[in-house]
Subunit: 453 residues, 2 copies
């Protein structure tokens, strides 16, 4: 973490952009961003019931809305072209996926994750190794026709990536985070992020230096492992104490909210600082807050108002109401994070959709190669599903790991910067990422529905 020292300003008061909305150069952007957020928020919400009527998950609606908005340039309307490169909207989107994973963490019990630990590890390892091998040994030489082993290694790494945002959102929207499959996928995604980081370091090392520094790999692995074990271990030890101490200072809902959200933001930053995806930190933060840890905070307002009315009720009613109010109280922190998710999460998925440039699909050569590689990418992850063992739907696990999302793009981008991924290969990878990301929500939704019946 570097401290940047700004040159001393001649003015006694440095005016930030907010104080000059109407006159500073960046003012148009701040103004326009308000409109963009309003449009994204509102149209995502309008689109979601429409996709719902076709039996499609809401997240697909947001992705497709993004694709539509992002490609209005094709029919000559370029208003949204600046949105996809706007750093403020990008940050809000990043907050969106961080909040989503924080919510998923809050709704997941650590105990359940530990229980599926061995299976999740197996799924993660197979889900990295098999697609990597397919990518490096089949997709590269045969589909791309590349004899550059560095290119093929990077293609393999890209196929090995997993992005858990899409899958987590589908499970959550369906209220199925409690399924064992959901827990295995979440656990595997965390492990995958560490393995992916190591894989990227190894592949980059091979390309840059021709060899891999064992010390560096051990260092990266150790840092990531220490972060995960440390944040969850120290966090869960600290959480009840911090909660009691803070509630003692101010037991109101604002404090509870600040505790949970600030922890999420902090661990997202820390994960980012050690090289992991910020969402892994946010997910870890969600695991720290068992309802029982937060018992020192005030009960919600409505519960306090209902409580005095309970005394004169008969036993049956009193118990039913008390139970209901208790459940409501225990979920208070989740309820407060919910609107933050309503606001930010669609921004992430709409912006993800906006990254899709339909012109890429117009090149038949690129499209065909990409479809071939996508099939390999899907097969590779489906095999991992079967590593989950008995009593588990291998298809749900496998499809849950299919979306490559932003992680795959980051790998491809590093390869591009190192000069081993060319323009065409990059386009192919981008289309593969798009296809695996767009195809998963409807299929996963169907599989989960089938599994329930």
């Amino acid at each position: 973490m570097k401290t940047r020292i700004l040159p001393c300003h001649p003015l006694p008061l440095v005016l930030a952009a907010w104080s000059l909305p109407a006159f500073a150069a960046g003012s148009a952007v701040i103004g326009e961003n308000l409109l963009w957020l309003a449009i994204i928020l509102f149209s995502a919400r309008l689109f979601s019931p429409l996709t719902g009527r076709f039996g499609m998950p809401a997240v697909l609606g947001e992705l497709l809305l993004g694709v539509a908005l992002g490609n209005l340039g094709l029919i000559g309307w370029h208003y949204f072209d600046t949105v996809r490169q706007d750093p403020i909207i990008a940050f809000i989107a990043e907050l969106g996926v961080i909040v989503l994973l924080l919510q998923i963490g809050l709704e997941t019990r650590l105990k359940d994750l530990v229980e599926v630990g061995p299976r999740a590890t197996l799924v993660a390892v197979v889900g990295i190794a098999f697609p990597f091998a397919l990518g490096a040994m089949v997709a590269g030489p045969w589909l791309l026709g590349s004899d550059n082993s560095h290119t093929n290694l990077f293609l393999g790494a890209t196929l090995a990536a997993t992005s858990v945002g899409i899958t987590g959102r589908v499970f959550r929207d369906l209220g199925q985070l409690g399924m064992r499959e959901a827990k295995i996928v979440l656990g595997a995604a965390v492990i995958d992020d560490v393995l992916g980081l190591v894989l990227l370091a190894v592949v980059s090392g091979l390309v840059q230096a021709g060899s891999v520094s064992v010390g560096e790999v051990v260092g990266i692995t150790a840092t990531a492992a220490i972060f995960l074990a440390g944040s969850v271990g120290v966090g869960r030890w600290l959480s009840p104490h911090a909660s009691r101490w803070l509630a003692n200072l101010d037991a109101g809902p604002a404090m509870l909210f600040a505790l949970v959200l600030a922890t999420g933001l902090f661990l997202a930053w820390l994960a980012h600082a050690v090289g992991l995806a910020p969402i892994i930190g946010a997910f870890a933060a969600g695991l720290l807050f068992e309802p029982v840890f937060l018992r020192h905070f005030e009960t919600p307002h409505i519960v306090r108002e209902v409580a005095p009315l309970l005394d004169d009720l008969d036993r049956g009613h009193r118990m039913a109401l008390t139970d209901l109010l208790l459940r409501h109280t225990q979920k208070q922190h989740e309820h407060m994070i919910e609107p933050i998710g309503y606001f930010f999460v669609p921004v992430f998925f709409v912006l993800t959709g906006m990254q899709v440039d339909l012109r890429a699909i117009l090149d038949p050569q690129v499209l065909l190669t990409a479809i071939g590689i996508s099939l390999l990418a899907i097969v590779g992850k489906l095999v991992a599903g079967f590593a989950a063992g008995r009593g588990i739907s291998p298809w749900i696990i496998g499809w849950g790991m299919v979306p490559r999302g932003e992680v795959g793009l980051i790998f491809a981008m590093v390869g591009k910067q190192l000069g081993v991924i060319g323009e065409t290969t990059f386009s192919v990878i981008v289309v593969m990422v798009i296809l695996t990301t767009l195809i998963t929500p409807p299929i996963l939704t169907k599989l989960i529905h089938q599994n329930k019946t």
Copy 2:
């Protein structure tokens, strides 16, 4: 609204910052912003009960925390120096004050505002005219020793500005938005913003062209008036219909939330586009949603769960509970915006505090002049309080109008750009803005408490 056309990208997919957090140049900033937000959110919440123990309002705690964080550079720790110029944090802060005014609007009934309309207009006019005269005819020539009439006109305009964020926050924190004084101040602030806009145009015209174009002034006034009347008039006509139509599509809480927040963001943008402060638009948006307009949306989850238990209760309990649940349902949209406020509002006030550079106060010449001008600034607005008429506390009204906040700074900045406000005068104005902003919350809190007893 200009459409900006980006050069066509060679890549089929334009990667926005979010997809490259770990590798793009701006990545450090996105990562650091997560940490800054965590620190601001958490420490603001910690600071608030501490100030509470000294009988100080929470908003003063946030402002002082900002002053402390913003001046750590004085003791050699420059970590926070970049925060006050970071456009992303600035945007989040802007969202914060927009959300605050949206909340205040939601908690204000339009009927009550109209009722105090004449009084609010009188307060606004006196509150613009008197401080303007004091600034231009007393503060300029006598305290600054300036014989440049343009400088004095601009100083007058700066003293005439009102920023309603601080005052609104104090009323809201004390749960006193229902006071007639609160409504008069809010109404006067809206009118003030229009008058201030006109005043700025007139003064700028005089300085730039030596004369005022009557057409331009009429145009500005008409645009602002049409915006206000139009947004509130059309909005309130549209609101019940839109609400019914949207609830028909999807009656869930996410839709209700999106409707209210997207409207707030949209009108904030529209206000900004016609030259008014975005917060005026957000306040207007809040006035559009009477609970009865939103009756087609689902009742909150807890209400639906409690409802079936009511049937067998005796009449007294049933009525008490039904009444309580009804009130909870009617405030559902306010409850959902609340956490958004918990997150963003402190960022605005902490960042406002961070704009204060304590070095400015170390120059005794600047400080003394600024104190003198601040006294005039306060007196000018207190006089306006007495224009509110009988049965109203003139002191609460007057002090409610005292903070100049960002509006005063914007006026000073325009004068600086036109070359009529020099460095020293600018420093003096900045210290005046700081003093009027920091001194108001504790005094207003005391006055409101006294008024209640």
